[in-house]
Symmetry: C2
Subunit: 337 residues, 2 copies
């Protein structure tokens, strides 16, 4: 059993604040970035908890984050708002845009928020979950770095291009999913490489475009999308609607801007919020209750809701705090040295 | 080689009008329904061309279509409109709602159209493609009949729940995809049953919930989603946003309403339109041009755009008309007898 360190969530938060301050990030950005890291650790999403402080450190030291970024709102239309993140982390831009998105969705029934010129290191579920907690149905999309080949192709073009969705559930936590349109996360292939383990066929192609079970070859070549040509089509959609549609970079452009630094992707994100009360009026409660039959239909046959594991972890963490790897904890403390 | 009959597209249209009139469908509905069938035959989507006249005949004779349906518009919010199809075909409701959706999307930047109480027999691409031809980015979703098990489950819960997307391309036809979130279309499994051919593992489960290669067992049991838990999550999303969100039926409720008639599904559909000009202002042309690099990146490595096959077929059909199976043609003529 690996050595671990017990931390309360307040201690996780304090650690994140200390490390991010030491790295020179402005107070304005530290707050929302730290909350995202606390949420990831709390929900036992290993790759999106305090582990991300190391990738923040790497990205900041590579000069790829504007440390004192100021986000600027551009009100484009009654149901559209863009927030230019000024080269800072997306959390700052989202926090500024979220209340405007909410107001527009309540007024118009549906609205969209485009985040531009932001550094992305986090999962999308904290954002769509927050909107569902306000009563909205929410969707989010973002490109990343060009690592993934289109179906039928042999070379990287798409990012891992996640799609996140949240649905408000009266009296309980929202139904949420958030997944990469690549077959697996890039980190999963990296873990296989470190462990010197073969990867299953279907995860990647070697630099010559041939199917491979070699993690190093797949990382040097291209990843594949989930679900064949359907996943590939969805990945193209994410490139388009969270890239050119909002005037921001494609994954090819983002990895070119990275210029070998291996920093977190820079670019855009699209978030859509729909107000069920606008669609349904007084019947909203009745129809939201009817939606519960779908969830009952899933769990009633022994299948799992995609958000369940996180919510179970969250309940544990809120009661007992978290345990993190001693080695990871020491690596993070070393950032303070 | 199967015997075929050569038809001009006008002859296809005239055939559709004659059959639908003979079946008692109102003139108001015949127009848009026939155009959808012409579009399917023109684009050589075998299952969505004149073959669908047989399923229209079946559904109408089963009493599952309101022949003289009147669609009614409900303006819900600045960016939301619902159209109650009155139990008629979705094409009537879409034609009524489309200009309102377009106007709302132009005014607000993003807008949504919910179609309610409609019979659905067609693919969704004609609708999103039409919106993209107007310059919008468009998405469409609809549940169907509960035939598909959730990932990790063993019993039907979801419909085949397609997702369609279209992106406007200056000077050429839109980028469009439209696919079921089931592993394959139900008709594909039916074709295997008729041909007495085994189906691949991953398409379906037998009535006891075990993986099967037997088409009859899968049709009696459950179909599976594409892409494992990710496809299953997307299918759940379609159930929610094109069902309860717009006050309409789930796939479980739709198949219950069918009551064994094996008619086309009755229920809702959600269509979202986004106006790139609202997001981008004067820079819209520049960013739409930049999106072309994504398409070039796909085709430049020998991969195909999902809409290419249809557009190639369309060019052939517009020049030369179509050839349809003599047996199918005779079966359709028999409806006129």
């Amino acid at each position: 059993m690996e050595d671990t360190v017990a931390l309360s969530l307040d201690e996780v938060r304090a650690l994140a604040h200390r490390v991010l301050a030491q790295l020179g990030l402005s107070e304005r950005q530290i707050g929302p970035v730290a909350e995202t890291i606390v949420a990831g650790e709390r929900d036992e999403c290993g790759a999106h908890g305090i582990y991300r402080l190391l990738s923040c450190a790497h990205t900041i030291k590579a000069g790829k984050v504007v440390l004192d970024a100021e986000a600027v709102v551009h009100d484009m239309a009654p149901a559209l708002v863009r927030v230019d993140g000024g080269g800072g982390y997306a959390q700052l831009a989202f926090d500024l845009g979220r209340p405007i998105l909410s107001e527009k969705a309540r007024n118009c029934g549906i609205a969209a928020l485009g985040l531009n010129n932001c550094v992305h290191f986090a999962a999308l579920w904290p954002e769509v979950e927050a909107l569902a907690e306000e009563g909205f149905v929410a969707l989010a999309f973002t490109p990343s770095h060009a690592w993934v080949a289109p179906a039928g192709g042999t070379r990287p073009l798409f990012g891992t291009n996640p799609i996140a969705f949240a649905w408000p559930r009266p009296g309980t936590s929202p139904f949420v999913f958030d997944f990469a349109t690549s077959a697996v996360a890039r980190g999963e292939i990296e873990l296989h490489r470190r462990a010197d383990k073969p990867i299953p066929l279907g995860w990647g192609l070697d630099p010559e475009g041939n199917p491979t079970t070699d993690a190093t070859a797949a990382l040097a070549g291209s990843m594949l999308t989930f679900g064949g040509h359907k996943g590939s089509a969805l990945s193209a959609m994410v490139e388009l609607i969270a890239g050119p549609l909002i005037g921001d970079m494609t994954s090819v452009e983002s990895i070119a801007a990275d210029d070998g630094a291996n920093a977190s992707p820079l670019g855009g994100e699209l978030i859509i919020a729909i107000d069920p009360k606008s669609f349904l009026g007084a019947a909203a409660a009745e129809h939201l209750a009817r939606a519960e039959q779908i969830f009952d239909g899933i769990t009633g046959q022994g299948a799992r809701l995609p958000s369940l594991r996180r919510y179970e972890a969250r309940a544990r963490s809120l009661a007992n705090g978290v345990r993190v790897s001693k080695k990871l904890y020491d690596d993070i403390l070393a950032q303070l040295g």
